[in-house]
């Protein structure tokens, strides 16, 4: 029996939904097991009934987002928070201040016709069955998760930082050797160390390694290398709001 899949987009750049389509011919592997009931980025076709798997991308930034999120949660058995907007709030959630003040600053009025909310990750509003961060995530990750689910296997979660995959690929350590500010040691892995491969430091787009990150030590290391405190603080909160505390 085919599983029913829905992909929902809240506020974000749209890249996470697009990244699913970037699976190209591998999408057909997913269609062996799934019927797509809603996927705005791919088709206007929409058939709303109970879903087996709902994939939700983006952050809750408007009342419409919140309603759609509740709809997805209430109509699905398994909900995947996909991408850093959904799992950590991403850049839009790291902007400090109240929504009315922000509206006034940008538009000169506190009026809120779009019913905008302070941006928050979806994990703050509903229970999710699987959280896959990344800005964007590696498309093979969602592929593995969806096929595992279709086969009745609980998809494994990653428990290691970016450094592990970086070393498995034998990339030169940019933090130790080039003194580039790299958040690899405290950031959840799964990206295959894509940034370090290109010789740049990890920007922490997948959020902190759950429970295990040691931001206090990372902070001291970067300070020692000569980066100022404000710079490090901003770097830490770009994708993960205030989650990295020390």
């Amino acid at each position: 029996m085919m599983l029913k899949l829905g992909v929902f987009e809240l506020t974000g750049c749209g890249g996470c939904a697009l990244n699913i389509l970037f699976l190209y011919e591998k999408l057909f592997d997913l269609l062996e097991f799934y019927e797509i009931k809603e996927f705005h980025m791919a088709s206007s076709f929409r058939e709303h009934d109970a879903l087996d798997v709902a994939v939700v991308t983006g952050s809750v930034s408007t009342q419409r987002d919140l309603n759609l999120l509740h709809y997805a949660r209430n109509h699905s058995n398994y909900l995947i928070a996909l991408g850093t907007c959904a799992t950590h709030g991403n850049v839009q959630a790291s902007v400090e201040g109240k929504i009315r003040e922000k509206l006034e600053k940008v538009y000169g009025t506190k009026a809120n016709p779009m019913r905008a909310l302070d941006s928050t990750p979806i994990v703050q509003h509903v229970a999710v069955d699987y959280a896959l961060p990344g800005c964007p995530y590696d498309k093979d990750e969602i592929y593995q998760v969806l096929i595992s689910l279709a086969k009745g296997i609980e998809p494994p979660t990653k428990d290691y930082p970016v450094c592990v995959e970086c070393k498995l690929n034998e990339y030169e350590c940019v933090l130790v050797k080039k003194e580039i500010p790299c958040l690899g040691p405290i950031t959840l892995g799964g990206c295959n160390a894509a940034c370090i491969k290109s010789g740049v430091g990890c920007i922490g787009c997948r959020g902190p390694l759950p429970k295990e990150a040691n931001p206090a030590s990372e902070f001291e290391i970067l300070k020692e290398l000569g980066y100022d405190e404000e710079y490090i603080r901003r770097k830490f909160k770009t994708f993960a709001r205030g989650e990295l505390r020390w």
Binding site: K26, D29, L30, E32, C163, K167, L168, K211, I221
Partner: protein, 334 residues
């Protein structure tokens, strides 16, 4: 053991002749690190390298290693093994491989490791210590076995120790390239070794270490370092004796999969997690301490699981020094 001399003018020809025995790998400079890479010419390699980031372990227990393929509902062996020649392996890394042999070749034998070990030729090379090396204090600064040939630098060539039957065959196969060793060569060899012995800047005090670790389980030193340690696992990834791996299945299409194993790290939260949800090492403090016990003490009979190569120090973002931690633990007891 047999000793022969390889004059410098024959060195390149000897190097090229090794390709007859398998795919040739040697230390190459990549940015600011060294790495064992497939090479074709002598000019690509760096003979006086300090240490490669990943040790030669990577050829026998690969960082990411396909073990099995799921095809049409059946698992198939995925592992092709080809003969390889590892050129320019340092003594500490040869000792590292011998420690891995104890783990992977004792019962139950790891078939992947065994096949690759049997299909490899190890050519050692002499080296000079840098600020991270402490192999001398662990007795791993000189290899008596575990290699096929070992090259020692001389002013005008190389003194070659033949360490195995295969090594003998290689030397025999290129007999015309070698000369007999003279008294003068031995003199130069001893001179080099003496200079090397006096160049070590770091040493590990082994005296009574097992007892010290027995008594120091609750030492505040572990707690101090637990706060500095990032728990990133870099020290495990680059260690020549770390041998833990994780096995995972990956889908390659709707109906086919591969079973892959990769290096695991005891700094990861799930490393000590067992069925039923119990975790033997639930905190970073437990895991930080555990690594030191594993390297130095775990089972006193099996000896040290550390060869003093200095990789964990060189690649630790928090600049934690292995020897210093153990010295502080020792001092903490006094």
């Amino acid at each position: 053991m047999r000793y022969v001399k390889l004059p410098q003018e024959n060195f390149e020809e000897f190097f090229n002749s090794l390709k007859r025995w398998g795919k040739l790998y040697a230390p190459v400079k990549k940015g600011d690190i060294y790495s064992f890479q497939n090479v074709e010419t002598l000019s690509e390699i760096t003979l006086d390298y300090t240490r490669t980031m990943l040790p030669p372990k990577k050829f026998f227990v690969r960082p990411k290693d396909e073990m099995l393929k799921l095809k049409e509902g059946h698992w198939e062996e995925a592992n092709g093994t080809e003969p390889i020649v590892l050129f320019g392996v340092h003594s500490c890394d040869i000792h590292g491989l011998e420690i891995l042999d104890k783990v992977y070749l004792s019962d139950p034998v790891d078939p992947y490791y065994k096949k690759r070990r049997e299909n490899s030729i190890i050519i050692g090379i002499s080296c000079m210590p840098d600020e991270y090396c402490f192999c001398k204090s662990l007795g791993t600064d000189f290899a008596m076995h575990g290699f096929d040939l070992f090259l020692h630098e001389l002013p005008d060539g190389w003194l070659v120790r033949v360490g195995s039957v295969k090594g003998h065959e290689i030397a025999w196969g290129s007999e015309e390239l070698f000369e007999n060793v003279t008294e003068e060569d031995f003199h130069h060899f001893r001179e080099f070794e003496e200079k090397r012995t006096n160049s070590f800047k770091r040493s590990l005090n082994k005296e009574g270490l097992a007892d010290i670790l027995d008594l120091a389980f609750d030492s505040p030193v572990w707690k101090k370092y637990e706060r500095i340690c990032l728990g990133c696992g870099n020290c495990n990834m680059v260690c020549p004796t770390c041998r833990c791996y994780e096995v995972c299945d990956l889908w390659i299409n709707a109906y086919e999969a591969v079973r892959v194993r990769r290096y695991d790290s005891c700094f990861m939260e799930t490393h000590g997690l067992v069925a039923g949800g119990h975790n033997f090492r639930p905190t970073r403090l437990d895991r930080f301490r555990h690594r030191y016990y594993c390297k130095n003490y775990f089972d006193p009979e099996s000896g040290f699981n550390c060869v003093g190569c200095g990789r964990c120090d060189e690649f630790c973002p928090a600049k934690i020094e292995h020897v210093k931690v153990l010295d502080e633990v020792r001092e903490g007891l006094q």
